[in-house]
């Protein structure tokens, strides 16, 4: 370059023209560059994403980071539903065919799968001429077991088995609270709280992308991670042990009475928390397919029935609240009562007797109650029943809850009102009625029942739980106390109809119910009965309200003999479990006759 000008080449034909050569050279380079440029535009400008994806797919792995589903817990934090890392075991029949019999025997021993059908799956690698390379062997196996089995199979040189993630939902106590908790199908929650609170429980899955070489992550390679958001736990107010006890007690009674079904509701009188909502028949949440469809829900909330004489408690407390009667109000009870052509009877035959209002409750006299309720003005009872919560959902977070049926005020006739006085011609659901009776236990203030501890949002956007408990005075404290004293006479062995409901040593207030039942087939009273018992203890300082209902007992029993003993059993267990000593005061001595 530093050569002096004298050295500059003189134009000569022999060595060719450098200008020309330069131009041609530039042209070639330009052509080459423009080809590359065009390619660049093609790659980056026209369809960059697909190429980026192709590049990424080469050696990049994307794994789903599953969010862990929240547990459903009882009031003591014990799981009613529990999530466990699970896996499926699958097989590639093309590889397993060779040792199919050995592998099937091995899997039968380890995973307890059916030998014959497994053997068929392991052999069947051609279906309709197309290759089958994937067969489920076992689903929802705990991850530890699945990994162990596949590792052992590899040691034994059994080829063609693999695992994949398959989350497992376990219900450790089987049928305990299954009616409320619900269950999960193959891919989605199908019933109960699992479905109602799915948004809360399920969380959000995350994902992770990273480059892989030889089975290991390449350090400094591309790596993006979206953390999963685990589902939250759902805290219920259910007490697992008490729920179990109640379920067994109800089942025993249903079986002994050869009844259709039954349920029991245990409620904390002061807070309205439901400690147990036991249903029978129910199902094992780990095997919902093995149960009849009607058993998959909660009859205590989804079924309607006429409450019968338990309703008299509401009628009488309203009467006392209005100052129209006292527990000692004297009533002359005729053998039968003709009301505009329809005759009302009592459950027991009698002549004309002189009962106090307390006697009418203790002996569950329809006639006595109707005569006392004649003092109501038009519409008064309706207002009270609405205030007690009848005809409205309790909205505790159970799907498909019924409203019950309280006839609208404009359809009330005097005959209808007579029947409603003693609990016919209106229908309720179990928790609704338990909350109504609990109003008397809670000194006349209705506390709304709840099943969720704290707060939770249902799939319909409703906020439920103990944080949303409402309290509303329905009857005066005095009316509630008087009613409780009257109800105490029901379990008195001498004057009451339900001595079987007593808890020795405690003051118990209660009321029996034996209602005509509407059969499913004819939609009319078919001669079957709904028998029930509602009550609370200790009567002078109530802690728990329990309501037991048995549908269609076939042993001829009534509320006192079928539901009463169940009440006594559950109440006795609850008082012991929560360490509630007897109050030690003198029981009610209200006169029943005059």
């Amino acid at each position: 370059m530093s050569s002096p000008p004298s050295h500059a080449p003189t134009p000569g034909v022999r060595r060719g023209s450098p200008q020309l050569r330069l131009r041609i050279g530039f042209l070639v380079i330009a052509i080459a560059l423009s080809v590359l440029g065009a390619r660049l535009v093609q790659l980056q400008g026209l369809d960059p994403n697909s190429y980026a994806q192709m590049a990424a797919a080469e050696g990049t792995t994307e794994v789903e980071l599953p969010a862990e589903r929240g547990d459903i817990l009882d009031r003591n934090g014990r799981p009613l539903a529990d999530s466990v890392a699970g896996m499926m075991v699958w097989a590639d029949p093309e590889l397993t065919d060779e040792h199919a019999a050995d592998i099937a025997a091995f899997l039968y021993k380890k995973l307890d799968v059916d030998y014959v059908s497994t053997l068929a799956k392991l052999r069947e690698h051609q279906v309709d001429g197309s290759d089958v390379r994937f067969e489920y062997i076992a689903r929802r196996v705990p991850a530890t077991l699945a990994t162990e089995v596949v590792e052992e199979a590899e040691r034994l040189d059994y080829e063609g088995l693999g695992t994949r993630r398959d989350p497992l939902r376990s219900y450790p106590a089987g049928d305990v609270a299954a009616n409320l908790v619900g269950f999960i199908g193959t891919d989605e929650p199908l019933a109960g709280m699992e479905r109602t609170f799915d948004t809360l429980l399920s969380g959000t899955d995350g994902s992770e992308r990273y480059e892989v070489g030889g089975g290991n992550r390449i350090p400094l390679g591309e790596s993006t991670i979206t953390e999963p958001v685990n589902g939250a736990d759902l805290h219920t107010t259910i007490d697992q042990d008490l729920q179990w006890f109640a379920q067994r007690a109800v089942r025993q009674a249903v079986e002994a009475a050869r009844a259709d079904s039954g349920f029991a509701v245990v409620m904390d009188s002061r807070t309205g928390e439901l400690l147990a909502v036991a249903d029978d028949p129910t199902y094992d949440a780990n095997d919902p397919a093995g149960a009849d469809k009607p058993d998959l829900g909660s009859r205590a909330l989804q079924g309607v029935y006429e409450p019968g004489s338990v309703q008299k408690v509401l009628t009488v407390s309203s009467l006392i609240d209005q100052g129209l009667v006292t527990p000692r109000t004297q009533i002359v009870v005729p053998p039968a009562l003709n009301r505009d052509g329809r005759v009302i009877h009592d459950w027991f035959g009698h002549g004309t007797i002189h009962m106090t209002l307390t006697g009418a409750i203790a002996q569950s006299s329809n006639i006595g109650t109707v005569l006392a309720a004649d003092r109501f003005k038009q519409g008064q009872l309706y207002d009270y029943l609405r205030a007690f919560g009848l005809g409205q959902r309790t909205d505790i977070g159970v799907r498909g809850e019924t409203k019950g049926l309280l006839p609208p005020l404009n359809s009330w006739t005097s005959q209808l009102e007579d029947r409603i006085d003693f609990g016919q011609s209106l229908s309720v659901n179990g928790v609704q009625m338990a909350a109504a009776i609990n109003t008397i236990a809670n000194g006349g203030v209705r506390v709304s029942p709840s099943l969720i501890d704290g707060t939770a949002t249902t799939d319909s956007g409703q906020q439920v739980g103990t944080d949303h408990t409402t309290r509303k005075r329905v009857v005066s404290a005095k009316a509630a106390r008087d009613t409780a004293l009257m109800m105490e006479r029901v379990v008195d062995p001498e004057v009451g109809v339900a001595p079987g409901a007593a808890v020795p040593g405690y003051r118990v207030a209660g009321k029996t119910g034996t209602a005509q039942r509407v059969g499913e087939e004819c939609g009319c009273y078919d001669g079957s009965f709904t028998v029930s018992f509602a009550g609370f203890a200790p009567a002078d300082d109530p802690r728990f309200t329990i309501y037991v209902v048995v549908q269609n007992p076939r042993n001829g029993g009534g509320g006192g003999s079928v539901a009463g003993p169940v009440f006594s059993k559950i109440m006795s267990y609850t008082l012991r479990r929560y360490g509630v000593p007897p109050t030690g005061t003198r029981p009610s001595r209200l006169p029943v006759e005059w």
């Binding site: 014990r78 799981p79 529990d82 999530s83 466990v84 890392a85 705990p142 991850a143 530890t144 077991l145 990994t147 376990s170 450790p172 106590a173 089987g174 305990v176 089975g215 290991n216 992550r217 390449i218 350090p219 400094l220 697992q240 042990d241 179990w244 006890f245 067994r248 007690a249 089942r251 025993q252 079986e255 808890v503 020795p504 040593g505 405690y506 003993p565 006594s568 059993k569 006795s572 267990y573 008082l575 012991r576 360490g579 509630v580 000593p581 007897p582 030690g584």
Partner: protein, 193 residues
């Protein structure tokens, strides 16, 4: 570099040449000590080598860390799964149904009514009572009743009475057999409940 200096010198008029020559200050061309190229090359290649080896070691250690990471992650997953399985087993052992069954096998029964002992006064609160069959809790469902087809009536073979017996004895044996047959069937039904 030296050639322009030479050109400058040639244009200077030549007088007192030697003196001028002595006095004249000229730019001494910087003496370039021909530094040995070997050390420089050695240094560069050392640096290069160190860099390459360092990078290699770094990469290897990263790779090693990645292996360890993968292995530890797998172990963590396995242990988490194991913990969950054990917790599940624990919950299954805590199942009230199982505990009640175990208690019953030990001969325990449901208490009849709650009673409390006040430690201060030694007074018993509540009415303790004996547990009887009436307040027992049946913890297992009754087995399902067998369908009639699987529950055939007892096969009764009527045997002729010995000839020695009187007519009176014969006539009384007839209804008795009937009752026995019924009783056998009833007994079977009860067993099947």
């Amino acid at each position: 570099m030296s050639s322009p200096a030479m050109q400058v010198r040639t244009r200077i008029p030549r007088f007192a040449e030697s003196a001028v020559e002595r006095a004249r200050l000229t730019v001494v061309p910087r003496r370039r000590r021909a530094a040995g190229r070997a050390p420089f090359l050695a240094l560069v290649s050392m640096v290069l080598l160190a860099g390459v080896i360092g990078l290699l070691l770094f990469n290897t250690s990263m790779q090693q860390a990645s292996f360890t990471n993968t292995a530890l992650e797998q172990q963590a997953d396995r242990l988490a799964a194991r913990q969950q399985s054990l917790e599940m087993e624990l919950e299954q052992l805590r199942d009230p149904q199982r505990i009640a069954g175990a208690a019953q096998r030990l001969g325990m029964v449901q208490a009849c009514s709650p009673a409390f002992l006040r430690l201060g006064s030694g007074r018993v609160m509540g009415e303790p009572c004996a547990s009887t069959a009436a307040n027992s809790l049946q913890i297992r469902p009754r087995p399902p009743v067998k369908p009639a087809a699987l529950n055939p009536p007892a096969n009764v073979v009527t045997v002729e009475a010995p000839a020695a017996q009187t007519d009176a004895a014969n006539s009384s044996a007839q209804p008795e057999r009937g009752t026995r047959e019924r009783a056998a069937r009833d007994g079977k039904k009860k067993n099947n409940r």
